[in-house]
Symmetry: C2
Subunit: 115 residues, 2 copies
Amino acid sequence: MQTYTVSQAAERTGWSPRMLRYLESTGLVVPERSAAGYRRYGSQELELLRGLAELRRRYEVELDDVAFVVRLRREPELRAAVESWLTGATVPAEGASEADWIEWEQRKHERLLVA
Amino acid sequence: MQTYTVSQAAERTGWSPRMLRYLESTGLVVPERSAAGYRRYGSQELELLRGLAELRRRYEVELDDVAFVVRLRREPELRAAVESWLTGATVPAEGASEADWIEWEQRKHERLLVA
DNA sequence: ACTACCTTGACACATCCGTGGTAAGGTTTG
DNA sequence: CAAACCTTACCACGGATGTGTCAAGGTAGT
């Protein structure tokens, strides 16, 4: 399959080569390496990179944030701990309706958790 | 119900009064206010504060991280976007070669970043 | 009224994050 | 071999986080 060097991947995703290396260092998008140690980005990595840029642009999500979600997947114990903290905070459950959130908003002063 | 001032809450949770104010400013733990504007922490807030300290201590979770999880709960669209990015449910780029598509098909059941 | 709290606001500071640059050296390709 | 890439390893720097402290003023309880 076709692969791309850092510069080529950068051209195609809007990131700078510098940032692609940085993203690798954070563990968010880690490409394969050639025998000589060159990074080789495949189409899947390109998509990941585009998606990441899109998340930041549209939702103002930070890299930290995405990295943390990844971490939650890797560490079920941590995930459980966070879940438990959240539910103890009486936040509407997963899959709560919009009405639930509105009501929660209205009672925010009685609640403990805001964001 | 019994309530506590910042200093009292600080004593009971291990946070400094300064940090309790900071936590309120970030929206993570927002206490009620008395008529004169004094913060009034209830037992639930104390629990939240203790839990938060525990998350940081045991898992080295940052405040940002917790705040982001809360945000994910409030914004299902964002949550879906992040989920989709995580599972690599994206397709090859525009102008991808046939080989790219084949490769993608072969690997689409894999989790690129997450177990 | 006095003391001991509380409030907001500001200044300060270490540390990280995101990002660019540059240098010294290896690889690929024409 | 020479140009044009690539690699890692640094320095730099503005902005954000997390945390303390201090000042000026309001409130509460004795």
